[in-house]
Symmetry: C3
Subunit: 220 residues, 3 copies
Amino acid sequence: MWIRLRAWLTGLFPQYRQDVLLLVIDLIGTFVFAVEGALAGINAGLDVFGLMVLAFVTALGGGTIRDLLIGAVPPNSIRDWRYGATAFAGGGAVFCFHGLIQDVPAHLLITLDAAGLALFAVAGADKALEFGITPLLAVMMGVVTGAGGGTVRDVLLAKVPAVLNSDVYAAAALVGAVVMLGALRVKMPRGLAMSLGAAACFVVRMLAVWQHWNLPKVMR
Amino acid sequence: MWIRLRAWLTGLFPQYRQDVLLLVIDLIGTFVFAVEGALAGINAGLDVFGLMVLAFVTALGGGTIRDLLIGAVPPNSIRDWRYGATAFAGGGAVFCFHGLIQDVPAHLLITLDAAGLALFAVAGADKALEFGITPLLAVMMGVVTGAGGGTVRDVLLAKVPAVLNSDVYAAAALVGAVVMLGALRVKMPRGLAMSLGAAACFVVRMLAVWQHWNLPKVMR
Amino acid sequence: MWIRLRAWLTGLFPQYRQDVLLLVIDLIGTFVFAVEGALAGINAGLDVFGLMVLAFVTALGGGTIRDLLIGAVPPNSIRDWRYGATAFAGGGAVFCFHGLIQDVPAHLLITLDAAGLALFAVAGADKALEFGITPLLAVMMGVVTGAGGGTVRDVLLAKVPAVLNSDVYAAAALVGAVVMLGALRVKMPRGLAMSLGAAACFVVRMLAVWQHWNLPKVMR
């Protein structure tokens, strides 16, 4: 069944078109994360340089940490100028059109962020597998890719990273990566497994925002 | 003399048994550090995800930084699932049996922690030497292995790392690594040098706790 | 024209003398940064170990991050004991002669720091180019080399890094790296391009301190 599906999908999306599609989605995710990082920089009263740093770090920090850990050196963010340029474009857009971006409805930003998280988590786990990382840790690399950038951003702002004690964010990335690995385990084609994982992450994240889910805590 | 001692020890502990012994001790150290990290997470009011992150980072952060710096990529913590699994088991144990762990007497935890520190410091310096790092910096890698995890944990909790201004902790790791390197310099067999170094670190740490030693500060 | 200039400079400074000169300048920069790091440690009330850590991290953190990112592993700071020894000497000097160092006039420290920043920025961008990093990101690596150590120091002190929201510091490093890359683009010899870049960074930094320049911020 997967083979027939793969044949159909391959007809629809030949390899080069898939690659372009993945790159475009990846750059969109990078842009959205950069915008969020830059907004956090403005809220912390940083200057334009600090804003650019937060844009870069939020957008590309997770993937960079993943690449360092799995041994993909230099990391993508340093090897390919398009990622850095996109992150700086996001930061620059916030700096120049700050008023307009404040008018973007919050739920649109949250939705785009969830989409970016889903893509990063799945792409991160996939890349870790490619580098021969064992599944348990490949899942972790997916989470790091999705949530690592925001973590570094919060560390730079001298705050406890929001992912450590707020609503279901990194956990959604975890679900997405686990679903993808499960799908690969039952021999689904890679593209379908990644799509399923991303969809799972996106749905969990949106449900969590909508229903105000929180992870359990130990009572002190 | 060392040669005769080595022959005797080799009879007692053949290579494969030594390796198993080292792995078991290493995993016990990982578990203890993970428990401490998770307890710090609970005290900071983190949710179960944050608790797991702190468990992993506290237990394996030091070794991971060492491996990145000496070029042992991917780091042990990412290459070998047993370390990650042990760290998550430590975090999970704290989450599930929090009440019980609070009943563990503090001095038992401190003793176990000192044992973990001793082992990590010595193993870290040894691994750095193996990768051709010069002795001065191999000692530093021992300290990073022992105290790095707690440092990253404190950074994530937005606190000044305790090792930078509290009692003799990293300094004990330093003593252990220096003793080990000195023992190797006088041609002691590796296992004996490591044992001596670990014992020195453990004794210094326990004496420091018992006698409330503190490192000197410059008066402002 | 560059060729004639290069011939003249090569007569004046043969290669081996250039290398020694570069190393000496590099070690002086390392020492100055280490002194600043150690002073920050004293101001934060750290003990002698914390002071040494801050000295090392401030002096060598930026170059270490750059080396990890561009794939120069193990980083220079771990491979060559002279850097670590110089950093620890800087920290030790602060610990032993704290009173004397407080008598060093502030503008001398600022001038030396600007010189160190200029050198680190230019050397960092140059090394990134050597490792095949694209110019946009080589510039960024120059900034990381110059300003990264101070950033890690501030993170360890649980403060928002000063470079993110204070006066023109990292921006001066950026200018220096850009000038150097521009000079290389018009085929200037490497030594001249590096000197020009370093001079540009130094001048911008000193002007910024003298004129109290600040980067623009977005008004909230």
